[in-house]
Amino acid sequence: MDESQFWDIRAFVYQHFAETTRPPRVDEIASRFNLTHEQAVSAYEELHQRHAFFLQPGTHDILMANPFSAVETSFKVHASNKTYFANCAWDSLGIPAALHADAEIEAACAQTGGTIRLSVTGQQVQSSDALVHFLIPFKNWYNDLTHT
């Protein structure tokens, strides 16, 4: 597989996530790009290694293509008449930034469990008392991505 096809697959994964709120499966990649199952698996593994997206440990299913999450989380984003799940507080605003779309965000306060509602309209976030806390220094973010 040549270098450009890796990036074509990466672009397709993001387009698929944006359009459907979920990532494509390996067999969908194989069909779309006329690859064998093994070639599609290999491409997913390579893109995982390059941090283009991240696979569920022990599988060939995409878990995260930041800012999108393939699994339900406590960071819910309503945008473009769809409901997406973000990986973290930052990615909650990352989804409307990536989609260039207005969004309503429902997330949980990590201490109280209370709902935090945020609104992005016309490329502006409406005022809120909410804060985001980053625990881990940037240089350590990729040590354990699911913890991050």
């Binding site: 390059r50 990352g94 930034a97 008392d129 940037f138 240089k139 991050t148």
Partner: protein, 73 residues
């Protein structure tokens, strides 16, 4: 665990105390939105192939994130 929302500064301080963790970096929503736009605005583009550590550091510098917390190495 790393990037979490809190309803207020007081609530955040309660969380830090109850979890026995040190304060990291804190942003308001306008600051987080600015970072999100800078970080993710071209994520759906086929031309986006990731960033080097230097490119990441440049983004943080442009947003005034220059403390040790935001250093790539």
């Amino acid at each position: 665990m790393n990037m979490l929302f809190f309803q207020s500064e007081e609530v955040l301080n309660n969380w830090l105390t109850s979890n026995h963790v040190e304060r990291g970096a804190v942003m308001t929503m306008p600051q987080l939105w600015e970072l999100s736009q800078r970080w993710y605005h071209n994520r759906l583009s086929p031309e986006f192939h990731g960033r080097t550590a230097e490119q990441v550091q440049q983004i943080f510098r442009e947003l005034g994130l220059t403390s040790e917390f935001w250093q790539a190495s």
